[in-house]
């Protein structure tokens, strides 16, 4: 590269290329300026374009001028800084990992920073902004290191996204638990956790701008080495570029940018993913942009356009008073989710499904032993779940209760506790079966109702109903959840089916849809009833709180149907899971079989969510562990997965409602804490 630039032809080309790149940068800068100008005319104060003009020209009333100077301008500058920081951070991370999906979101930088700030808040220490930024940096860097370390550089786009999303889920669950356990100390952190660019004066901006500037300059200095990395590690080494050092420096600088953005505005979703993706096609027309030194700042400008644009859009569409309540990050996340879906459709997916796990096939004694052991353990946990709680009971109490002659207190306690245990058991089994079916149909051992957007869609449907109707019945909630899940899964599976369920596409679609669903859920909660969010939030953390027996009927029925289908169609499931050709050769209607199993899986996922809220990871962990224990044949996998799923959720529910009693944590938070490490274990094991 350096050689070519030294020739006369090279210089000409470089000059032409630079002109093109400058034109792009100038156009973007102009767009930022226009959006910034619109942004500062929007807000809750009665200060519009005319007043802003007066303020900027120094002829406004003192009050109007201060609004512009202390509220509008800092907000606008923060939006620009955050956009630039996130855009550059994403571009740098993608360059060093040679992975188009690396970003502060997918590498869990945001989640790590958020957790670090949550821990700081929970311990009750009030740190100055720079120090809390330091904490955010450490948290973000640790998370990135884990994700990059486990997913490996360069290869496995999907592995990176999966590792990042899984870690983000786990970390966010811990943060959420902190919010519930320390409500006083962490007040406001939840809303902040959705990301908003509003500022209290210029202080924050003034403190973060130098940090961002230092990282910016640092990235420009290593840009040439980063370009060399694109040639491959060996070629780069041949050019005398220290590969390892460059990678580490770049990741640290990119994390610093992301952490500064989080400190300033909370986690603003998906900008770091979208901005580089929008810039990527440009070098084909403007060659100057193929060099990092040019493309990094341009990506930063695109990031600024995204954040500012979202803020402008939000304030233009939603009335000013409500716009204060809706965090800008919600908008960027919805936009980002849609973007991810579009990107998934445009990428040619060459990666087929993973090779089947190479597992030994245990004998039938081993299978029977496993079932018996799991059955016994499940019985033990169930008994424990019924006996333990705020008031500890003994078995005799339960016997009396079952025979209908227990005393007043025991009757009441068991009347409320037994439905919760039942809901946990059924939802766990339902999610496990749903996961088994999805993994068989997609032939993707990492597919899961949660990761693929089914749970998110179900949650959105149910929350829409819960917040709009007073006291909806259990069937209505189940139906709404199914409606949401059906829409989400039609998008994900429908679009993925076109590419024969290619792995990359499916996961990208799923992550995009679940992120958008999660953001829409926060939006619905904030807009519908900002002062009574408990109802909806309780529900989302995957809780069995307040469940009654009728609430568990839908999932019980669907589960019964599901088990019958899975048992009678076990051979078809085996064939579908095997490969593309064998079922056809045997005359099996592959498309119809797939569709049938998927509909069943979605029904199972939705009714489970209706019974116990959005519980993650169970649909992934249970079938996988089942395969590891008893081999691949569904006649064995299904019963073991059912037992494991029920066991996992029942245990999580028991721990959640006893450890900090009388307060309680949702089962979903507990499964995320258990599920994340297991997920990583899977990723490490399947590393090729």
């Amino acid at each position: 590269m350096a050689v070519i630039e030294n020739t006369a032809v090279g210089r000409d080309r470089t000059a032409a290329a630079t002109t093109g790149a400058v034109a792009v940068a100038a156009a973007l800068a102009l767009l930022v300026v226009v959006l910034a100008a619109v942004d500062i005319t929007q807000g809750t104060a009665d200060v519009g374009a005319a007043e802003v003009w007066h303020a900027l020209t120094g002829t406004a009333e003192a009050g109007d001028a201060s609004v512009v100077v202390a509220s509008r301008l800092p907000r606008m500058v923060a939006a620009v800084l955050v956009g630039v920081a996130l855009g550059m951070s994403g571009a740098a991370l993608q360059a060093v990992s040679r992975n188009v999906l690396a970003s502060p979101d997918t590498l869990a930088v945001n989640a790590g920073s958020y957790l670090a700030l949550g821990v700081v808040a929970a311990t009750g220490t009030t740190l100055p902004l720079l120090a809390s930024s330091g904490a955010a940096f450490v948290g973000g860097l640790a998370a990135t290191a884990v994700v990059l370390g486990l997913s490996g550089l360069g290869k496995g786009t999907v592995r990176l996204v999966l590792a990042g999303s899984a870690l983000a889920l786990g970390l966010n669950a811990v943060t959420e638990a902190l919010l519930l356990l320390f409500p006083q100390q962490t007040e406001g952190l939840y809303r902040w956790g959705q990301g908003g660019v509003g500022q209290n004066g210029f202080d924050g901006v003034a403190q973060m701008a130098p940090v961002i500037a230092v990282a910016f300059v640092g990235l420009l200095l290593v840009a040439r080495r980063v370009d060399a990395l694109a040639l491959g590690d060996d070629a780069a080494r041949g050019l005398g570029v220290p590969v390892r050092g460059t990678r580490i420096t770049t990741v640290v600088l990119a994390t610093l940018l992301a952490a500064a953005a989080v400190t300033l505005a909370g986690p603003i979703g998906f900008v770091g993913l979208c901005a580089p993706a929008l810039v990527r096609p440009l070098p084909r027309r403007f060659r100057g942009l193929s060099r990092s030194r040019v493309s990094l700042p341009v990506t930063g400008l695109v990031g600024a356009v995204l954040v500012l644009g979202s803020d402008v859009l939000l304030r233009a569409v939603v009335p000013a008073d409500l716009a204060v309540e809706v965090p800008t990050g919600v908008v960027t996340t919805v936009v980002g989710g849609v973007f991810l879906v579009v990107m998934a459709l445009r990428t040619r997916d060459t990666a087929g499904a993973d090779a089947p796990d190479r597992l030994r096939i245990p004998g039938s004694t081993a299978f029977l032993t496993t079932v018996v052991v799991l059955g016994v353990v499940l019985a033990g946990v169930t008994v424990g779940a019924v006996l333990l709680g705020d008031s500890k009971l003994l078995l005799g109490d339960v016997v009396n209760w079952a025979q209908g002659h227990s005393g007043r207190v025991v009757t009441y306690v068991l009347d409320t506790r037994v439905p919760r245990v039942t809901a946990a058991l059924l939802a766990g089994a339902g999610l496990a079966l749903s996961g088994t079916l999805v993994q068989a149909v997609t032939r993707n051992p990492l597919a899961e109702p949660g990761v693929l957007g089914v749970s998110g869609g179900a949650g959105l449907g149910a929350v829409l109903l819960v917040t709009s109707v007073q006291a909806p019945g259990s069937w209505a909630i189940a139906a709404a959840a199914f409606g949401g899940a059906a829409v989400a899964s039609s998008i994900v599976f429908g679009l993925a089916a076109r590419g024969g369920f290619g792995q990359n596409r499916l996961v990208l679609l799923g992550v995009g849809v679940s992120a958008a669903a999660a953001a829409l859920i926060s939006l619905v909660i904030v807009l519908s009833d900002p002062f009574d969010t408990t109802r909806a939030l309780t529900w989302l953390s995957g809780s069995t709180y307040g469940r009654t027996m009728p609430d568990t009927v839908p999932v019980a029925l669907v589960l019964a149907v599901g088990v019958v289908v899975a048992v009678t169609r076990r051979r078809e499931l085996d064939l579908v899971a095997l490969d593309e050709d064998t079922p056809r050769l045997l005359g099996l209607g592959l498309t119809r079989a797939r569709l049938g199993f998927l509909v069943l899986a979605v029904l199972l996922g939705a009714t489970s969510v209706a019974a116990a809220g959005t519980i993650g990871f169970v649909g992934l962990v249970a079938p996988h562990a089942a395969r590891a224990l008893v081999g691949r044949r569904h006649v064995r996998v299904v019963p073991v997965a059912l037992l494991l799923g029920a066991l996992l959720v029942c245990l999580a529910d028991l721990v959640g409602r006893t450890v900090i009693a009388p307060a309680q944590l949702g089962a979903g938070l507990m499964t995320a804490v258990i599920g994340t490490p297991y997920f990583f274990y899977l990723l490490v094991r399947t590393r090729r």
Partner: protein, 326 residues
């Protein structure tokens, strides 16, 4: 290995079953209703549900801070309340009496714990999810009280105290409380008029600060504080519209610029920190007429903004103190 696991599991379950056999209550059922006085009380709560009690309730559990306060003010020491620590920090107008058991959070009280207390009566508000109320009704009679109603906050407050008084046989106390409140209003109104503040414009608020962002919660005319302000002859300055229950609206510092020259009072609590002290250097805040004129008043800790007559009396006292202090 597997065999060992199986054996361990079996032994564990066996041990658990053996240890857990027996019951936690006396084997024979002893209906406790026999020694109760015959005077049955039948009430209709705010959701229209008929509640029948064997007599004035003595063992009462309450799930929200305003009804806890009502009970304490009526001289009934509740046996179980939600979030003892929070109540102690936020409501000092009616300190808890007796030694009530903590039943968990206000949003998700533990039904297990409530059941174990075997109360005669549970007082809840309409903020509690209907599914939970349904379960609580199996534990004990539940009196559901309207949490708040922006159309008539003071009327709702009085209705609640009357209803709870009937259920606990403390009607005379309730009448006294309402009379005290009215007296306090009249006294406060006069004090404000004497200080030349009759008809003064007022804006009440509280706020949160997180990282570098401040949100301000406006107590509009539909809120309880707003309603009391109006009874005191003050005029509400908020133009934002509140929600239909609590009469609250959210805005930011910019949103304060429309208020004009008012008396600005805000509630904070040392347990949570003071959002408005963080604004001292903010140029918008400094330019507000009421800030320039020194008309910003932090109300003392422990006055619960959504409480009952006791809290509102304390509120009136602190407000009059703050506004008339020279």
């Amino acid at each position: 290995m597997r065999r060992n696991l199986l054996a361990t599991a079996a032994v564990a379950v066996a041990a658990l079953s053996l240890a857990a056999c027996g019951t936690t209550e006396p084997s024979s059922d002893t209906p406790a209703a026999a020694d109760k006085p015959a005077g049955k009380i039948t009430l209709t709560d705010h959701t229209g549900v008929k509640v029948t009690l064997d007599g004035p309730a003595k063992k009462v559990v309450a799930t929200e801070w305003n009804v806890i306060e009502d009970l304490v003010a009526l001289g009934v020491a509740p046996v179980g309340v939600a979030d003892v620590k929070g109540y102690t920090a936020w409501n000092t107008a009616a300190p808890l009496t007796g030694d009530p058991k903590d039943i968990g959070t206000r949003g998700e009280p533990s039904i297990d714990t409530v059941a174990a207390l075997a109360p005669d009566l549970v007082v809840a508000t309409t903020d509690l999810s209907p599914a939970v109320v349904k379960q609580l009704r199996k534990v004990a009679p539940v009196l559901e009280v309207t949490a708040a109603d922006a159309a008539d906050q003071i009327g709702t407050m009085n209705d609640s105290i009357d209803l709870i008084a009937k259920a606990t046989g403390t009607e005379t106390k309730a009448a006294g409380l309402k009379k005290d409140f009215e007296a306090s209003v009249a006294e406060g109104k006069k004090a404000l008029e004497d200080a030349g503040l009759g008809g003064a414009k007022i804006a009440s608020a509280d706020g949160y600060v997180q990282a570098n962002q401040v949100s301000v919660r406006a107590y509009t005319g539909g809120s309880l504080l707003g309603a009391v302000n109006e009874r005191l002859g003050l005029k509400n300055a908020w133009t934002v519209e509140g929600d239909k229950d609590y009469g609250l609206a959210t805005t930011d510092v910019e949103g304060l610029t429309g208020l004009g020259d008012v008396q600005f009072t805000y509630v904070a609590n040392d347990a949570d920190g003071d959002a408005f002290s963080g604004l001292a250097k903010n140029a918008v805040w400094k330019s507000l007429p009421f800030v320039k004129n020194g008309n910003v008043h932090r109300l003392p800790d422990g006055v619960w903004m959504f409480g009952g007559p006791r809290s509102m009396e304390a509120y009136i006292d602190s407000l009059v103190d703050a506004l008339t202090k020279k």
